[in-house]
Structures are given as C-alpha cells and as structure tokens.
Amino acid sequence: MDSVVHSSLPLWACLASLLAAPAIVLFRRELFLREATTFVAAFVKFGLVLAMLPIITSGKVIEFTLVEGFGGVVAPILFRVDGLGMLFALVASSLWIVTSLYAIGYMRGLHEHSQTRFFAFFAISLSATLGVAFAGNLLTLYLFYEMLSLATWPLVTHHQDKEARTGGRTYLTYLLGTSIGFALPALIFTWIKSGGDLSFAGDAILASADLGPAQGLILLLAFCFGFSKAGMMPFHSWLPGAMVAPTPVSALLHAVAVVKVGVFCVIRVFTAVFGVDLLAKLGVATVISWIAAFTVIVSSLIAMSQDNLKRRLAFSTIGQLSYIVLGVSLLSAHAVQGSMMHIAMHAFGKITLFFCAGAIFVATGKKYVSQLSGLGKTMPFTMGAFAIGAMSVTGVPPTGGLLSKFYLVWGAADAQQFALLAVYLVSSVLNGVYFFPVVYRAFFKPAPEGEAAVEGIREAPLACVLPLSITAVGSVLLFFFPGLLLELTKLMTGAQ
C-alpha cells in the first residue's frame, strides 16, 4: 500500500494561479506587470508541481484535507496527489507556461480587448484544472469540475459578439446541463451505495457495494455522460461551439485542460469509483467501449469534412478523447496505461496544432484549410510544427503519439477485443487522412494568384512561434524519453 505524506503543497499549487487572478486585475494598467504576474504564477505553479514529483515517483501519495467532513455527514474537501493526478498536473502546468507566452503574443498581435479579464480567468481556470487533478474524492472533483466550467465561460465568450454568445450558450448548456443532470445524481447515488465514502484512496469506492448490472450500467453512463467534458457522443457538440474562443483558450483549454479534465474524470470513475474488478464482473464497460468507438470513427469522418481549421481540430480532439475513454474501458492494464499516456501525448500534439492555427490567424488572418495553399513557404516554422503535431496525433514515429497508441492497441489485444483494435487502426488512418492534406496543401500547392506578392518568410510574432516550436519539440522528445510518463502510469496500474 502506498504510504501517505501530508503536505499542503497541492493546495498551494492550486492556489498559485488563483491568487494571481486578483493581482492581474490589480495590475490592469501596467501591462508588463500584469504579464509578469502571469508568468511568475505559471513558473511557481510548475515549480510546486515539480516539487511534489519526487515524492510521487518514490511511490508515495500526498494528501491534504482542506475542509473536514464531520461524522459522515458530507465528504471532506480533500486533495490527494497520485501518479495519474501528477501526470495530468505536470502536463497542464508545464503547458500553461508555454501558453502564457503564446497568449501574450496572440492577444497583443490581434489587439484584443479586455485582456486583463482574459488573463485573470485563464489563471482561475488553471487552478480549477489542478484542483481536479489533485482531487482526493469525488466531491472535490465535482467541485473543481464545475468551477472549471464556469471559469472558462468568460474565456469562450471573450469576443462578446453574437457568435460568441451562441457558442457560450451551447458550452454552458452542455457542460452544466450534463454535470447537474447526470453527474450530480450519480455522485449522490454513489455516496448512498457506498455508505458515505467518496474517497479515491484505497479500494475503489463501489468495490464492495451491492450493485446490479442494470444499476451499474445506468450509473456508469450517468458518470460518463455527466462528465461531458470528455466529449463522448452525443454530448460532444459543445467543443466545436467553444472554438469561437481566442486560440490560446482553444489551445490550452480545449486541447488540454478542459477536455482532459473530462477524460481524467472518466478514468477516475473507471479506476477509483467502480474499480476494474467490479466492472469486469458487471460486464458493462463494453457499452462504453462501443460508444467511444462510435465517437472515434464518426468524429474522424466529420473532421474530414470541416474546412475551418479550428473546427477540424476540434473534431479531431473529440475523436482522440474517445481513444482515451475507449482505452480505459478495455479494462486491461496496458490499455489503461496507454490511456493515461495519451493524455500527455495528445496534449502536446494537439496544443501544437492549435498554436499553429492561431499563429496562422495572427499572421495572415486565415481560418480555413482551403486558404492555406503555399503557406509552407511563408511560415515554415509554423507549418513544420504543424506537421509534427499532426504526426504525433496520428501516431507516426518519431513522435510521442505512437507510444500511447501502441499501448492502447496492445491493451486491446490483451483484452481480446479485436474489433475495437480495428477501430484504433482505422481511425489512425482516418487521422492521417484529415491532417496530411493540410500539410500537403501548405507545402506543395502553390499559393493562390492574388497573394503571390508575399516573398520570403512572414512568420507570426516570436511570442507565437516560440511556444509552438517548444511544444513540437516536446512531442518528439516524449517519443525518445517517455520514462517519466511510463513510471507515473505504472504507479497507477501497478497499484491495481
């Protein structure tokens, strides 16, 4: 059993960005100070997460109780850092640094309004994300999950125009609707069934509960659809809607933080709420598998038909998220490991792609795939990074995406689910089909007549290009040095 370390580090890691929000508001006139605050907070946060890393890798767990629960009346609000949480926190906090840099370039480049509000809510969103990562029980998880939905709303609707209004409406309708309508009752039902235990520590919450297959299925579905940030069909359409947001938001939140929070919650539900053993006994996980498989295929097909680059990426994200859900629902150790790794791999790949999309928009104002012809010549760094990101998401070596997909496929084989294995393979092909035309068009098609005047390299601002290069390099590095990730995921699957 893992030994427990009590430390307030998780709280401070969480608070680092939350406390930065008022400071950002305070410095709203001093642009330099404001952005410096963002950076300092990002680095502090990352540092705090890193500080916890040695403890976690040594096989221990950090716990911290924020609010006590009294005599079984209600669950306490409690932080608990384990391998999975650590992995997610590392990804989120490291990418925040990069995104901050990118956001400054992007927002300044486009002279966006209300930048202060933007940065403040961005910081709050990160706090909520880390809160989810470090949540020690379902109640805390739910609390930060809701906080994240609400804190990102102003970011999604940042443009405050009609489109943003509609997008924001869809966003909240789906996220709040499902979390209140499905997740909350599921949560309370779990609380009753388990006799007042919601903690992730020790055995799975429902491991010893008396639960029939029908109840189990309903509960599982309620959780999976309730955490609709995971984007499983039919509750996926908030994500394309959210693409009205400025690109840094789409990049960090809708490729990393928000959506990954969704799948993170689903993984928690599978591993810590039900437990693999119980699910295997009930045999209900296949239903989820097939829903996820359906989502994977259908979203890839839809992605192919999208001309708006960000929307194409969004549908790709939906598919990739369901990879993770599918992996964890296979209930084999390797697949679960693959799912967890895919959180990180996909994060690096997809954020690169979004950064690229944003950089293209900043530099040229182009939003559509069909406009990208010949762009490889004027924006070689951006498009190069785009190619790497696309490779990673598709799973082509030498990028990190290959590793996680490998584990997923391995897991499917372990579980003897060859039909689902085929789904993985087919969808990888589809990924290629919708990404590589973009790369091809950029590098090998001549620019349209009217724009031929542009000569030489016309990249986006350095603050935009630098981050996307970093994340692209990161994707490649993850292929060569996946040790830490493997270690963290093993901590989780080994514990089962």
């Binding site: 609010v67 209600v74 609707t157 009609k162 943003a164 209004r165 209140i180 909350l184 309370i188």
Partner: protein
C-alpha cells in the same frame, strides 16, 4: 442574564420599534442607529443561544414563571429553543441586520416622510418572525404570525407603486385566510387535547387512539393548508409574486428571504413537534401525494420564472420553486430529506437575500426592471455583479455554494426514499435556473444588443461621464448597499464550505424530534 436570552431576543427589536416611535419622529436620523443597535442585540442573543443550545441542549423558558411543580404544562406560555430554531434565529437576525444596513438612506429615500414608521414596521416584523420561531405555544404562534403579517402588508403597501397596493390587498386577503385556517386548526386540536402547548399536544397525540380521529385529521389539514398559503406553496402562491416585486426595495429584501422560510419552519415544527413524525408519516401516509405536489410546485415555479421579463418577478417565481424544494424535502419522510429541507431554509434565505439586494441595486442603477435592460452592468458594477453571480450560482447549485449542498442533501433524501419524481424535478429546476441566470449574466456581461444600442446610448454616456473607467468601482452603488451584498455572498459560500458543522447542528435538532419515528423504526 443568559437564561433570559429567549425573551430579550424579541424585546430588543420591540423596544427598538417603540423608541423609534418616540424619538424618531422628531429627527429621522435617530431611527437608523436605534434599528441597528436593536438588531445587533438580537443578533448577539441569537449567536449566544445557538452556542448555548449546541452545547447543552434545548432551552425551555416559561414566560411569567408558570413552571412550578403544581402548575401543569401549558398553563403559561412556553418558549422553547432547540437547535433548529436557534439556527433559524441566527438566520433571521443576520438577514434583518444586513437588510438594515442596506436600508441606510435607501429607506429614507423610499419613504421620505414615513421613515420612522418604516423602521418601526421593520422592527415589529422582526419581532413577529423571531417570536414565531421561539414559541412553543400553538396559539401564541398565531398571534405572532399576525404581528409579522400585518407589518408585512403595510410594508408592501407603503411603496409608491400602485400595483403594490393591489398586491398588498390580495396578500392581506390570502394571508388572513391562511392565518385563520391555522387558527381553526389549532382550535380543532385544542378541542381534542385541551391544551395549546406543543409538547403537551404532542404527548397526547402520541396515543394511537388519535391515529384515526377525524378531528385531528382535519386539524392537521387546516394547519397545513394555512401554512401553505403563508409560504406560497404551489397552487396557493398567487399573492406572492406581485407582493414581493412591487414593494419598496428594502421591503423586498426583508420579506423575500424571511417570510416563506419562517412559514416552512412552522410547517416542520407542526409536523415534528406537534403531530410527530409517527402520526404525520405513518397514520396519515400522505407523503407521496405531498411530494408530488412539491414536484409540481418546483416545475411550475421554474417554468413561470422562465416566462418572466422582469427581474424581481422572476426571482419571486423562483421563491415559489424553492418552497417546493423545502416542502418536498420535509415530506420525503426520511432523515436526509428533512436535513436537506432545514439546511435549505438557511441556504435559501441567504441566496434569496443576495439576489434581491443585487437585483435592487441593478434596478435602481438602470431605473428599469426588465431583464433585457440590464446590459453591460458587469463592466460598470463589478462588485455588485460578483454578488449577483454568487447568488445565481447558489441557486443553480454549483459547488461550493450553499445551494449545492442543500441540493445534495435533498437529492440524497429523494434517492433514499425512492421519490424519483422529486429527484428529477430538482435537477430540472437546477437546469432551468442555470438557463435563467445565464440569460441574465449573458445580457449583463455582453453589454447591449447591437440592434437596440441606440436606445440606451445616452444612458451609457451619462455613466461614462460620471465615472468612466477611471476607477474600478466607479459605477457601483453606495457602500451601504454593496457591503451587505458582499457579506451575504460570502455567507452563501461559507455556509456551503462549512456545511458539515451546520448539518451537525441540524441533526442534533432532529434527535429531539426524529423524522423516522418510533413506530416506523419498529416495523
């Protein structure tokens, strides 16, 4: 002196009212300090009582000292403070105090020449509500209900809006019917038991012979219907929306959080302390029917709220829905449902207060009360908006606000008792609340609709002229209105985060009057 607290808590505002009458007429500026100090004394008493009760159990206080050995229970009037009403006392005094701060200068503007009278009615209303809460005598409760009702009719009718007067008349008619039904019910009980003391009645009714008595049955229905009218439970809610939305702003801040909640308290008190859970849930066996009524109330309240274009009206219909929550929770006939209902009394009082204060500041600021006229307020009034958003989130039930945890307990009760209709209604109403409030937040956040911007251009300019963006709080209301709002918002959150100790106290209260009675436990 500490054993006299149950009397002093009421006497402070009573003397406050009298002093206001004697001293305030000459100089209106004297009213406010008197009000604040009277309510502060009450508040202190309430806190002291809560501490005392949670440490050493219920307090019995016999007015007139009629509790010697040879005097049977019920000869004099008894006040009884257990954990339940101690909590409620704290809520009432806190809400009253916050509203009092809010009323600073506002009341003077709204009732120029009648400020002392306004404050007298204000304090007498508090006397009534506190009295309802502390008493353990069924008839005394009626008298105090009348004190609070009569003052609230007047407070509603005082406004300058003529529709408010009409609403006050309806309120008066309905209120009188409600109170009379209650009185009649008490009469029926008195006829069967020969006493008016709640504990004594309870003791007599515990005899199973009364399980079938049609008099007791009718008494219960009369009291229940009477209290339902007072709390605006669904089919009987007609008086509430107009009365609360066309009255002066301070009045609405005081009445909306307190009146219905206190009525719910009375219902719970009647159910548990007079009739007893055994009788109500076992002999009567109506809990399914009432929970379904509550479901209808919740859904109807939510749907009607959706149909409103005026902000305060919408909030009023939400109160109707919230009453459904509490009635339903109380009638789930299990422990957690009751805990949820009681916790929701506390939570809803502060949520409603928060929303009403914010709404009143908005309305004053925009000089308009329609939802679509609230454009761009967030930029101009960030603090008020924060308060409003906190209240809205609590209404929706977002953690960690108090609204989430009350829903948590209510849902738990609903699931445990298998009342799925109620569970679904709660969730649907949460979603409707989400739609409602985000519609407002959207309007207030996005600023004006491009289509109709020219209508309000001058409005915008005038504010820019006044404050511009130079100061953060340029467009805010007065500190006296914003500070209570922020305190309330903080309470809403703190009550949520620290719900466990509160629930502990509620459970302590329910130990004295179990929801699942002895008969049910024995089965």
């Amino acid at each position: 002196m500490s054993e006299q607290l149950p009397a002093i808590i009421l006497l402070a505002p009573l003397f406050g009212a009298l002093l206001t009458g004697l001293a305030g007429n000459r100089d209106h500026r004297r009213c406010f300090p008197i009000l604040i100090s009277a309510l502060a004394v009450s508040f202190g008493c309430a806190i002291a009582l809560l501490v005392q009760v949670s440490q050493s159990g219920p307090i019995d206080y016999f007015v007139g000292g009629w509790n010697t050995e040879r005097v049977p229970l019920g000869v004099g009037i008894q006040l009884r403070i257990d954990a339940l009403n101690a909590l409620l006392l704290v809520v009432i005094t806190t809400v009253a105090l916050l509203t009092a701060v809010y009323s600073f200068r506002r009341a003077g503007e709204e009732n120029t020449e009648k400020t002392p009278q306004f404050y007298m009615l204000f304090q007498m209303l508090c006397v009534g509500l506190l009295g309802i809460t502390v008493t353990a005598d069924a008839f005394n409760l009626f008298v105090l209900v009348e004190v609070s009702s009569l003052t609230s009719y007047a407070l509603v009718a005082m406004g300058s809006k003529s529709r408010g007067t009409v609403a006050a008349f309806n309120y008066l008619i309905m209120g009188t019917v409600g109170a009379s039904f209650y009185l009649l019910g008490v009469g029926y009980l008195y006829m069967q038991t020969g006493t008016l003391n709640m504990a004594a009645i309870h003791e007599i009714l515990a005899d199973p012979a009364f399980g079938k008595s049609s008099t007791v049955f009718v008494a219960f229905i009369l009291i229940l219907v009477g209290v339902w009218i007072k709390m605006a439970f669904f089919p009987l809610y007609g008086w509430l929306p107009n009365a609360y939305s066309y009255c002066p702003s301070t009045t609405s801040c005081l009445l909306a959080p307190l009146m219905t909640k206190v009525s719910v308290y009375v219902m719970i008190r009647v159910m548990l302390s007079i009739f007893g859970a055994d009788w109500v849930f076992q002999s009567l066996g109506w809990s399914h029917t009432v929970v379904w009524l509550a479901v209808i109330a919740i859904l109807a309240g939510s749907v009607l709220a959706l149909a409103q274009v005026e902000l305060k009206k919408m909030l009023c219909y939400l109160i109707v829905a919230e009453v459904g929550y509490m009635v339903g929770g109380a009638w789930l006939a299990n422990h957690w449902g009751m805990v949820g209902a009681i916790y929701h009394i506390l939570a809803d009082a502060f949520m409603t207060l928060c929303l009403f204060i914010a709404a009143n500041i908005f309305i004053k600021h925009c000089r308009a009360d329609r939802i679509d006229q609230l454009e761009g307020l967030f930029k101009r009034m960030p603090l008020t908006s924060t308060g409003f958003v906190v209240g809205a989130l609590a209404m929706i039930g977002v953690p960690p606000t108090a609204g989430f945890f009350s829903k948590w307990y209510l849902l738990r009760g609903g699931i445990e008792s298998g009342q799925w209709g109620y569970v679904i209604a709660l969730l649907v109403s949460s979603l409707v609340n989400a739609v409602l409030f985000f519609r407002i937040i959207e309007i207030a956040y996005f600023g004006k609709n491009p289509a109709e911007s020219h209508d309000h251009a001058h409005d915008e300019d005038s504010h820019q002229g006044q404050a511009g963006e130079a100061t953060l709080l340029g467009g805010e209301g007065r500190p006296a209105t914003v500070i209570p709002l922020l305190i309330t918002a903080a309470i809403v959150i703190l009550l949520g985060v620290f719900n466990a100790p509160v629930v502990e106290i509620i459970q302590q209260a329910l130990e004295g009057m179990p929801v699942v009675g002895a008969a049910a436990a024995a089965r």
